[in-house]
Structure formats: C-alpha cells, structure tokens
C-alpha cells in the first residue's frame, strides 16, 4: 500500500538525525534554524533563518520539530512588527508532525503539533495555530489569526469550517511517519 515517493540521491542531503534537505532549497542563515529530525525540506523551499532579531549573539529564528514536511516552493519567513518604535523580527516555532503543502507562504508565530497546512496557502504574520488543526488548500489566513485546536479552516479570509475528528492526532502522526518512510531514493541508486 505504501507507494514510495522517490527522489534522486544527489538532490538531498541527509543529516545524522534523518533530516532530508533538498540542495535546491534556499536555507538562509542556517545557524539560526533548528530541524528536529526526520524532517524533509523539499526543493524550491525558502527558509529565512537570516531574518533575526537585532542584537548580539545567537538567536533561533525558525525551529521545526520532528517528522515535518516543508513542501516544494514554500516560503518560511519569521513575522515582524514595529513595537515602541523598533522594527523587529520575531521567532517562528513549529511543532512535530507538521506538513506544509507546496507553494505555501508561512509567517506564523507558532504552529503546534500534528498540524496540516494545504498547498497555495498564505499564513499571515503572527498567526497562532494550535495542535491538530488543519488549513485547507488555497486558504488565506490574515495576520494575527488564532486557529484553535482540532479545527478546520478554509477560504479567504480563512474561517472555521468544522471540528476535526477526535482521532486526528493518531491519523496525522501515522501519515507523517508514513510519508517519511515512503520518501526514499530511487531504487537504482540505493
């Protein structure tokens, strides 16, 4: 049943913790980015770890948990605002088992665990997405939106559509793990 999703070995860098990062992805400021392990960054994705808070020292700009997927052509950009006259970027924190579909732009502040985001979405600045929520394909979430746990949002602007089933957590966990297993190099290259 588990049809493999093949990639060419040359395209992906695999880390010790099992992260697979496409060489065709743009990872800016990698020292400010944390990947939890077994997370896939697809080709064409752009991750802006360089947009960090002003000030000295290290700062985690974008952190991703385990079993995440950043789809092809996604843009992950930390949110920014001007507070008391000072312009600043703010960190973006993403939990475990989060899948983000192709060509989606994410400027969220936090995304919980077991969250599915469809393709071609815009997740506005400082959005907070709680655990087990789902954003349908082509959804536009305006800045500062809060998306409660176990709810499905869709539309432009994204609105609550329905409650998700009680077993969402187990399902998303199984799907994201399965996706990672299916994502493998072409057999001829193994």
């Amino acid at each position: 049943m588990d049809v493999p999703i093949y990639y060419t070995r040359a395209e992906y860098i695999e880390t010790d913790t099992g992260n697979k990062v496409s060489r065709r992805a743009t990872i800016a400021g990698p020292q400010n980015i944390i990947l939890g392990g077994k997370t896939i960054i697809s080709s064409g994705a752009i991750i802006r770890g360089d947009l960090r808070r002003t000030g000295p020292g290290h700062a985690v700009v974008i952190s991703l948990g385990r079993y995440c997927l950043i789809g092809e052509g996604c843009v992950m950009r930390p949110p920014y605002k001007t507070y008391r006259g000072n312009f600043n970027y703010y960190p973006m924190k993403i939990g475990d088992h989060v899948h983000i579909g192709a060509n989606t732009i994410v400027e969220a502040a936090t995304i919980g665990n077991h969250v599915e985001i469809g393709k071609n979405c815009v997740i506005g600045k400082f959005t907070i997405i709680k655990d087990c929520a789902k954003i349908a394909d082509n959804t536009m979430i305006p800045p500062n939106t809060v998306i409660p746990a176990l709810s499905l949002f869709a539309g432009s602007p994204g609105r609550f559509v329905e409650d998700l089933p009680e077993s969402t957590q187990e399902m998303v966990e199984a799907q994201t793990k399965q996706y990672y297993t299916r994502f493998q190099p072409l057999p001829s290259e193994r």
Binding site: M1, Y7, E72, T82, N144, V146, A149, R159, P165
Partner: protein
C-alpha cells in the same frame, strides 16, 4: 480519484443492512473509519449522526478564554473580551488607535500594539480594510469593548422584546423543567426535549389548529402535566408593533426605494453578512456592526442506546487529549483499497519525474489517474489491505452484499448489473498489532498461496482478457499486522458509472469478555491462550462500501443518439 472505502453505521436502524450504494442518500450512512466510535457495552459502531452530544466546556476561538457556563448565557454565547468578527468578511478585527505612529510603512499599522496611540480607538479589519469608524463606532479606551457593544446590542428593540417574552414564559418554563427533571430520573433516557422546545411547541399547538405538539412522551405523566400548564399562560401583548415600528430594517417601502437607487452591489449587505444577526438586519452594508465572536464548545459524546460515554475531552480548551476515547479504529480492522494497475502507472510516472525534474508532483497524479482508468468490458484486480488494531490475531471473512436492482429497473428484472465483484471466499488471518512493528522498514513479503478458485458467488464467469492471468484472488501479502488480499471486478461492455459495492466484513477474535464463559475465562487474552482451554471466540461483522472509481466507457467515440 483514488479508490476508497467507508464504514457503515446503522444509527439504531431496525435493519442491519446498509442502503444500496448507488443511491445518493447512501453516502450519509457511510463514514471514514476514523470518524466512527465504538460502544463496548452495545458491541456496536456509532457515528456523529447518532451519538448524543453534550457540551463539556465553552471557549472563545480567538482569545481561547475558557468561559464558565454561568456567564455564557448572560454574555449571549459570544466572547465578552476584545474579540470581534469583521461584519464584511468574518476576519478577526484588531483594535487600533486613530493616530497610528508613522513608521513609514502603512501596511504595518494594524500590527502596531494598541497600548500606544491616541483615542478614539476603533476596530479595523486587516483583510478587507473595513473599520468601525465607518459605521460610527469608536471607543475612548481600547479595553472592555465587548461590554460596550453588548450594551448596544441589548438595548435594541428586538432584544428588549425578546427579554420580555422570556419573562412572560418564565413561570411556565420553571414548572415544565421541574416536571421534566423528575422524568429524567424516571428512566426515559433518550428524549431530547428541553423546556424551551416544549414551550415553543405548546404555544404553536395552541395558536395553530392542527399543528401537532412536539411531545414524545404524551402518554407519560409529564405529558399530562404539560397539558395542564399550557392553559395557565396569559396572552402576551407585544410592546411594539414590529412591522410598523420602523426598526432600522424590516423591509417595506424604504428598502424598495434603496434597491431602486442602488449604484454598486457592495451597498447591499450580502445574505451571508446578514443572517448571522439574531435580529432583522439592515439591507445596507453601511449599517453592518462588528460581531462579537460566537463561542465554541468542547463536546462529550454518548452512545445513543446505552448512554455510556464514548468521548470525554480533557477540560482544558486547547488540549487534544481525552479522558475517554472509544473510537472504532481501535476495534475494527482498518481497510485500504488500491488498484494495482493504477498504482503501477503512477509509480512509473513518479520514477521518471524524479529522474527528470522533481518539481511536477501535482501533475503526476492526473496522468496516473488516466493511466489507471477502469475501462468498460475489462477485468481488474484490486487489493484490500487489512490492518489489525487488536493485540490478538483475527480471522477475516469477506462477503459481497447482495446487488440491488438498479434504480428505475423495477420491471426489468433481467437487466444485468454493470459489474461483477469476486472476493476471496476463504477466511484469512491478520496478525496481532504489536508496538514494535510500527513503521519498521520491514520489506519482507510473503506471497500467499491461498486456493483462489472454489465457489465464488456461484455466478457465471465471463471471458477474461490476458491481464487476468496475473490476478490473485486471496492473500497477496502479509507483513506485520497487515494482510493484503486481492479481489477482482469484471466490468460488462455496457458498464457505466462508478464501481461501488457494499461488502460485509466479519472477523473472529479471541474475547477477554468473561460473560457467557462457563469456565470463567478472566484475565488478558494472552493468558487465556496459555491455558489449555480453548479460547472463547467472538465474531463481529460490519458493512463497508468500496468505491473503485469511475468506469471509462469502452468506445469514447460512440455517442448515444438521443443525447
């Protein structure tokens, strides 16, 4: 579209058999496995359409504040903090000062913290740019806005009238709720009646002759009590004549006039913008008011038959854990369907695209779908993968449900069904679930040598094409707690529509339920296995609907003359 399978919930229907799958209404009876519950007490599947739902807590979906049920009523089920929907687009509104500090980037102004800036404050939509100053709503302070707006809502003539109505019915409501609570203790479980429904239906029954009163307990004592009460209510006199009072909307000449002079569509508030309002709303989009955000609830679910709790969420609003969660996926095998010929086609595409360019994943699906089409007049094999969630092995047996007559074919009994389905006739085992097996990269494949002929339905076989030589009826693969079996579908030359059929799945499992066991088999299933006594076997059956996809007519060029 990929093939799919859904599970049947009889919803307490008298007949255990599911509706025929070609009826559009049948879709309401079938659900994905993960949407179903399981009542251990009744040994039955339950779904969201039949469970009893109780609110276990309220919260605001925006500020996530958990609202105590005591304040829910006073605050009219809406958030009493600073949460508002844009009346124009339903986005969440932001409080902004009237004089945002100029930082040279206008796009950022709504993000500016509301703790700075000058009054008056107003509500601003950062999606459609609506703001409350447009409709004359501004605030001196950026806090306590909901209370200010609610005061406004509550002083509306309709709202006052409604309050008076409630007062008027109050004595009656109190009387009927006390009698109905007496009744709840007296066993009549599953009657969803509340005092308000009862009051409304009594009033309706009195005012409109011939309208049956909603009273599921008319023969009970409580029913008679209600009859006794209904005549005690004096007539209600409304404070204002709604039709003539000219309450800011309400149709009539003014609206006609407004519509006649309309210049742009956006002057009229869309139906969607108006019907969330509790009262008659103005047609003018310029009259739209910010909406306090309606609260949401966490829900407990009970079995409709025995009232046992199936779902009980944790109290905390944003927790995704449950104190009780009896879902069908923990009891019934998960089944997934696939068409090997379609999968092979998809895999070919994927392999070639991965080699060439990996950016075309979306188009692959479409190509794959056409390559894996079901052509009329051909025979295809399909695979059903069973995943066992139980800690004990199970034996599964499949049976196709009786094919129903096609709609509109009452007189034409000889009409052949558009396709014939053959399923493995002998039972097959699915190994027990074990944590260690989860997601192991275990590629070991055993090809079953199940005898695949034998009497399949006892139906006449049809001519097969060359493809069917590789077909397998029976076990195709076993790995961990998954068993894959093959079936086949034979499409007639005239076949049209979807290949959709009902399938009965029965499975036997070892029961750790001591009831009915004379030798008192207690303890875990594995322990009872160790004893020399034969374990007690139990059987559970459920119906599913399998949808293999749309049939592609044999000759695309042949066009029906009468269309």
């Amino acid at each position: 579209m990929t093939p799919s399978i859904e599970y049947y919930c009889p919803c307490l229907a008298a007949s255990p058999h599911p509706p025929p799958p070609h009826l559009p209404s049948s879709t309401y009876s079938f659900h994905p496995l993960h949407n179903l519950f399981f009542c251990e007490e009744c040994d039955a599947v339950r779904c969201n359409r039949c469970v009893m739902v109780e609110v276990s807590g309220y919260y605001c979906p925006n500020c996530l504040f958990e609202v105590p049920s005591a304040s829910v009523r006073a605050e009219k089920n809406r958030c009493a903090r600073n949460c508002f929907h844009c009346p124009n687009c339903r986005n969440t509104l932001t409080v902004v000062p009237s004089d945002p500090p100029d930082d040279g980037d206008a796009r950022m102004s709504p993000i500016v913290s509301s703790t700075l800036g000058e009054p008056p404050f107003f509500l601003y939509c950062n999606h459609c740019r609506w703001d409350s100053a447009e409709v004359g709503i501004t605030f001196e302070k950026p806090t306590g806005l909901a209370a200010q707006l609610q005061k406004f809502e509550d002083s509306a003539p309709e709202s006052l009238e409604f309050e008076r109505l409630k007062e008027h019915f109050e004595p009656f409501l109190r009387a009927s709720s006390s009698s109905s609570s007496a009744l709840h203790s007296a066993a009549a479980h599953h009657v969803h009646t509340n005092p308000i429904t009862a009051a409304a239906s009594s009033a309706l029954a009195r005012d409109i002759p011939g309208v049956g009163k909603y009273n599921p307990l008319s023969r009970s004592r409580a029913g008679r009590d209600k009859h006794a009460h209904k005549n005690d209510i004096p007539d209600y006199k409304s404070r204002v004549e709604v039709a003539s009072a000219g309450i800011n909307a309400g149709g009539g000449e003014a609206d006609v006039d407004f519509m006649c002079r309309l210049e742009t569509m956006s002057e009229v508030a869309a139906l969607e913008q108006r019907w969330v309002s509790s009262w008659v709303a103005s047609l003018h989009s310029s009259d739209l008011k910010p909406l306090r955000i309606p609260l949401q609830s966490k829900k407990s679910k009970r079995c409709p038959s025995c009232r046992h709790i199936l779902i009980k969420p944790e109290q905390k609003a944003q927790s995704v854990r449950y104190k009780i969660k009896l879902v069908a996926a923990n009891y019934l095998p998960a089944i997934s369907v696939s068409l090997p010929h379609a999968q092979a086609a998809v895999e070919m595409m994927k392999r070639s695209t991965a080699l060439n360019k990996s950016a075309a994943a979306t188009t692959v699906d479409e190509h794959g779908a056409s390559a894996g089409a079901l052509l009329a007049g051909k025979t295809y094999s399909f695979h059903l993968a069973f995943t066992n969630p139980l800690y004990d092995p199970i034996q599964v047996r499949l049976k196709k449900a009786q094919m129903m007559q096609a709609p509109g074919a009452d007189g034409d009994k000889t009409r052949r069904p558009p396709f014939q389905v053959n399923l493995p006739s002998s039972p097959f085992p699915v190994a027990a679930f074990a944590e260690a097996w989860e997601y192991e990269d275990d590629e070991e494949v055993m090809f079953g040598l199940e005898e695949d002929e034998g009497d399949l339905d006892g139906m006449g076989r049809q001519q097969r094409d060359g493809r069917s030589k590789t077909r397998t009826l029976g076990v195709v693969e076993k790995r961990a707690n998954v068993t894959v079996v093959g079936g086949e579908v034979i499409l007639t030359k005239e076949a049209r529509g979807r290949v959709k059929f009902n399938m009965l799945v029965s499975y036997t499992y070892r029961s750790d339920d001591p009831d009915g066991a004379e030798e008192n088999v207690t303890g875990t299933p594995s322990r009872s296995h160790a004893s020399s006594k034969a374990p007690e076997l139990k059987n559970f059956s459920f119906y599913t609907v399998v949808d293999l996809g749309l049939i592609v007519p044999r000759e695309e060029s042949r066009i029906d003359p009468d269309i």
